[in-house]
């Protein structure tokens, strides 16, 4: 291992160091000066972004560079996803500061755990071997288990953390089992070597197919698609809103990266097998997610089911197994993360001291309480429903084109029909905000940084919809 290799992983090292620094610095800070932790975490993200963007590791014409015995890969795709994660996590931190203060949970643990989870996300994004994938995955999972139970006085929080832990461990076990079979069949842990082995020995090996099944289960659990979605509604509802905000955004980016690394870099030649599996996972997620969301009265649960359907759409993009399809999927998952943080940000905004605004009724009459926030929520909801000119429309457009590229017209038609079904529950939020009288006349306000972040977030949703070419091009050129 030489220093050039270390340099490739510089963003990861920086994050590791800073996560520890944040933990230690907190010991010397009193209750009043906790704000410093927040600043420190934000600076960590900014510098991590700058280090990642330097990108001078790529010589001309080289697509990717590997390090640490080929288990770590640095490429354009990884950089884009990492920088996106930093931006999203920056929004998460800004929103959750308000929540943590209101709920008297403003402790450094939240930042430390989030930064460690981010480190896991980065490792997963850059993973090029089965070991690294597992390492990243577990780092995310363990941090998130702890985060879900962050409010230790909440019974619901502990319950959902427990549930998540049990189900998550099972999924990890399955993934590990699948990995062992793939290792047995190909004799390597490195994804590119696995791909090479499959190419030479053919893709008919039954052991390999079994391995693939378990790997797909692991990926499906990470995405939270049907039938591995059971944890999503409970965890989203039980976790504090600030944590749900985190879970629903950054780890999804990692899940996409994991799916791409596994299914394309490693098991690309098994495309014919995993295409069928993914199409059914996607189909059931879109159908069930959208139908179940209609019946929810708790907005966190509603958004949980909406996440399930969105992840189904992400899988749609993976189906053709082409560069275009992966680009479409990646675009969808980035757009989803942007929309998701905004929606949970709104929940945090409406939560008053000690009471989460998790009932749909809490949104009633928001237009009369504060028209600006109502407009932001309108943008988010229409974007999630896939109505143009919001950015969510482009995401749906691209994945549906990917499905049609894969000659699965029936799936495209079902997907768009259920997109219309899904529009109903997003419209219901708008209906409550605009067409109903408020239940609670209290004025909604937030600190300046919160408002700034929410404005930027809202502008991203409409702005990336109207000036859509740059982000689309970025995703398309990453593959």
């Amino acid at each position: 291992m030489n220093s050039a290799q270390m340099l490739l992983a510089a963003p990861e090292f920086w994050l590791l160091v800073m996560a520890c620094v944040v933990m230690v610095v907190d010991l010397f800070l009193g209750e009043q000066r906790r704000g410093i932790i927040h600043m420190l975490a934000m600076l960590t993200l900014i510098f991590a972004g700058m280090i990642t963007l330097r990108g001078d590791y790529l010589a001309d014409g080289v697509q990717s560079v590997t390090a640490f015995n080929d288990s770590f890969i640095r490429d354009r795709l990884g950089d884009v996803l990492k920088v996106t994660s930093f931006v999203i996590l920056g929004l998460v931190f800004t929103y959750s500061k308000l929540y943590l203060r209101n709920f008297k949970m403003f402790r450094a643990d939240f930042y430390t755990l989030s930064l460690f989870a981010l480190l896991g996300v980065m490792l997963l994004i850059s993973a090029n071997s089965l070991l690294m994938i597992y390492l990243g995955l577990e780092l995310i999972s363990l941090s998130v288990y702890a985060l879900v139970a962050f409010d230790r006085n909440s019974g619901r929080g502990s319950e959902s953390a427990m549930k998540y832990f049990v189900l998550g461990s099972m999924a990890s076990g399955m993934l590990l089992y699948g990995m062992s079979m793939i290792y047995g069949a190909t004799g390597s842990l490195v994804l590119t070597d696995i791909a090479e082995a499959i190419r030479t020995q053919g893709s008919g090996d039954i052991l390999l197919i079994f391995g693939l099944v378990f790997v797909v289960v692991g990926i499906a659990f990470k995405f939270g698609v049907v039938p591995f979605h059971m944890w999503i509604p409970d965890v989203y509802e039980g976790a504090p809103a600030a944590v749900t905000l985190f879970i629903s955004s950054v780890p999804k980016l990692a899940a996409f990266a994991m799916a791409y690394r596994f299914l394309s870099s490693g098991l690309g030649d098994l495309h014919i097998h995993w295409q069928g599996m993914l199409s059914f996972l996607a189909l059931f997620s879109i159908v069930l997610g959208n139908l179940a969301a209609i019946m929810q009265t708790n907005i966190k649960r509603m958004l949980a089911y909406s996440t399930i359907s969105h992840m189904g759409f992400v899988l749609l993009g993976l189906l053709p197994g082409t560069a275009y399809g992966f680009g479409a999927s990646m675009y969808y998952v980035i757009v989803y993360a942007v929309m998701s943080v905004a929606s949970f940000g709104m929940i945090i905004l409406l939560s008053s001291r000690g009471v989460e605004a998790e009932r749909l009724e809490d949104f009633k009459g928001l237009n009369q309480r504060n028209p600006f926030y109502a407009v932001i929520m309108v943008l988010v909801m229409f974007s999630m429903a896939g109505a143009p000119p919001m950015v969510g429309f482009w995401a749906k457009l691209m994945v549906i084109k990917a499905v049609m590229d894969a000659d699965m017209m029936w799936l495209a038609i079902i997907a768009v029909i259920f997109a219309v079904v899904g529009a109903f529950y997003y419209l219901r939020v708008i209906w409550y905000m605009y067409f109903e009288e408020p239940e609670n006349e209290a004025i909604v306000t937030a600190p300046v940084d919160f408002n700034a972040a929410l404005t930027v977030n809202g502008m991203m949703i409409i702005g990336l919809g109207i000036f859509s070419s740059s982000l689309i091009a970025l995703c398309m050129t990453s593959f």
Binding site: P371, P388, F393, L397, K401, I413, L427, F435, S469, A473
Partner: protein
């Protein structure tokens, strides 16, 4: 200046809408003033579309084209021909009228109301002026958002049901069109509608595409049997919303047939024309009877709209039968021109009728026919306008309502006698429900205390109704300017659609 004319028409109202929004809810007078100013400027700005329009060519005019999303070859491509220019003028013409109509009757969140209408105006002009398939879809869908809010916030008691139904119906129809558009893009590598016009396609593909377009546009027009959202939406919408819905939004369906279905899938249109003709005739006759039975004035006008829009689809699709019968397109041109004239004329008439109902509703807060009677005694000027508009609605010669219907009936004679016979029934049915409405509401003895205390229309209302009355008379007596704008484009379209593009 012509280089940015269409862009200005689209973005001026949208930016103006955002500005009005920022005025804030506490300064309604300023919101109204700014909105009126913006719509007036937009209307004046649109006039070159009439005066500088070259009526001798069918190629696109006032073209703007620049890349938008290079990865997918999506362009910001605008241009108008004889079909879209009149519809854009109609849209910008209604801008100020709608603002004035909502001047006093809207008191809640005036700035948001005006902003929604301005944004909607820009988006509707965008629908008519874009030549890029995806951009069309974006405008087509985005337009639903402000309308959804308008009906939901300022509508009547069942507004939530009505607006959700409106949104979901239209959304469901249009997603099938989206799949069709993506298919066309995958096949051609371009989103340019004009490229699609000339692109060869197999008959099977054409049929599926035709059905996809039909799903979107038949909901929009609306055609029987997917019309049920319209009466609900109209009844619950505030006056301005009803006016825009009837006068402009329904026309987008007809325009869609002209721009997409006919030229992109001509062979499928020829094969499936019986379907559209049958649905149109059902709309004309059956919905005419339904209108007769209505107790609610707005509902009656809504059904009458569906019935009249049946003429539009009939006029467009008889072209194929005529071509089969006569081997020429001369007779078909009359039908397509008639459909376009009918769209413009119906825009004026239905807009005017909803405004007249709005005048009564503002005073009595009821739309039920039984709550009125003898309005002429207390509101003579109003009665004059109302009876005139109802006459126009029943197709009285000398009003624009007559011209379009007459052209379509005349043309459908050349296709099939029974088409013409059934279509001509509307002259009886239309007269029946329109004049019976006039009898029950306007004439007779004063029905109750509320009618006795009615105030006649003020100068603001008289201005709006007067302008519309003049327009209806003008196009009734002298439709020539409109027909001239259309003629070359219609001929071009017909020459195009009778040539098979099956590979």
């Amino acid at each position: 200046m012509n280089g940015f004319l269409l862009s200005t028409l689209i973005w001026l109202p949208i930016v103006g809408g955002i500005a009005v929004m920022l005025v804030g809810g506490h300064r309604p007078a300023m919101a109204r003033g700014v909105a009126l100013l913006v719509t007036m400027v937009t209307f004046l700005w649109s006039l070159p579309l009439f005066f500088s329009f070259d009526t001798t060519t069918a190629v696109m005019q006032f073209v703007e084209s620049r890349p938008w999303v290079e990865t997918f070859n999506i362009r910001y491509y605008l241009g108008v021909d004889g079909f879209s220019a009149p519809l854009i003028l109609l849209t910008s013409f209604f801008g100020p009228l709608v603002v004035i109509a909502g001047w006093r009757s809207i008191t809640k969140n005036v700035n948001q109301y005006m902003a929604a209408f301005l944004v909607m105006e820009g988006l509707m002009i965008g629908v008519f002026s874009t030549l890029d398939g995806l951009l069309f879809y974006i405008f087509f869908e985005a337009m639903l958002i402000p309308m959804f809010l308008v009906i939901g916030i300022w509508g009547g008691p069942r507004r939530v049901y009505a607006t959700l139904k409106f949104f979901l119906y239209t959304f469901l129809g249009s997603v099938f069109m989206l799949i069709g558009l993506i298919y066309l893009y995958i096949q051609s590598g371009s989103w340019n509608i004009l490229d699609w016009h000339t692109m060869p396609l197999s008959l099977v593909a054409q049929k599926w595409l035709f059905l996809g377009f039909l799903a979107a546009f038949s909901v929009k027009i609306p055609m029987f049997p997917v019309h049920t959202w319209l009466p609900d939406a109209h009844v619950e919408a505030p006056t301005g919303g009803s006016v825009i819905l009837a006068a402009i939004m329904l026309k987008i369906g007809g325009y869609g047939f002209i721009r997409f279905s006919l030229p992109i899938t001509p062979d499928a249109s020829a094969v499936l024309d019986w379907l559209v003709i049958a649905l149109s005739l059902i709309a004309v006759v059956y919905i005419g009877f339904v209108a007769l039975a209505q107790q609610d004035m707005k509902k009656l006008i809504a059904y009458s709209s569906i019935s009249h829009m049946g003429f539009v689809t009939l006029g467009l699709f008889v072209a194929f039968s005529i071509y089969r019968n006569t081997g020429g397109v001369a007779g078909a041109a009359l039908g397509v021109e008639g459909a376009m004239v009918q769209m413009i004329s119906h825009g004026f008439i239905s807009g005017a009728l909803f405004l007249t109902v709005g005048v009564l509703y503002d005073r009595v807060h009821s739309r039920m026919i039984k709550d009125y009677g003898g309005v002429a005694n207390t509101m003579p000027w109003f009665a004059l306008f109302a009876v005139f508009f109802l006459m126009a609605n029943s197709g009285l010669p000398g009003t624009s309502g007559f011209v379009g219907e007459f052209m379509v009936i005349l043309s459908s004679f050349q296709a099939n006698f029974w088409f013409a016979f059934l279509a001509a029934l509307t002259l009886i049915l239309g007269a029946a429900y329109s004049l019976w409405l006039a009898k029950r509401v306007i004439f007779g003895a004063v029905a109750n205390r509320q009618v006795e205390n009615l105030q006649d229309i003020n100068s603001r209302e008289a201005l709006v109704l007067g302008i519309l009355a003049v327009a209806i008379l003008f196009f009734g007596l002298w439709p020539q300017p409109l027909v001239e704008m259309l003629q070359v484009s219609v001929d071009h379209l017909l020459q195009h659609i009778v040539q098979s593009k099956v590979m």
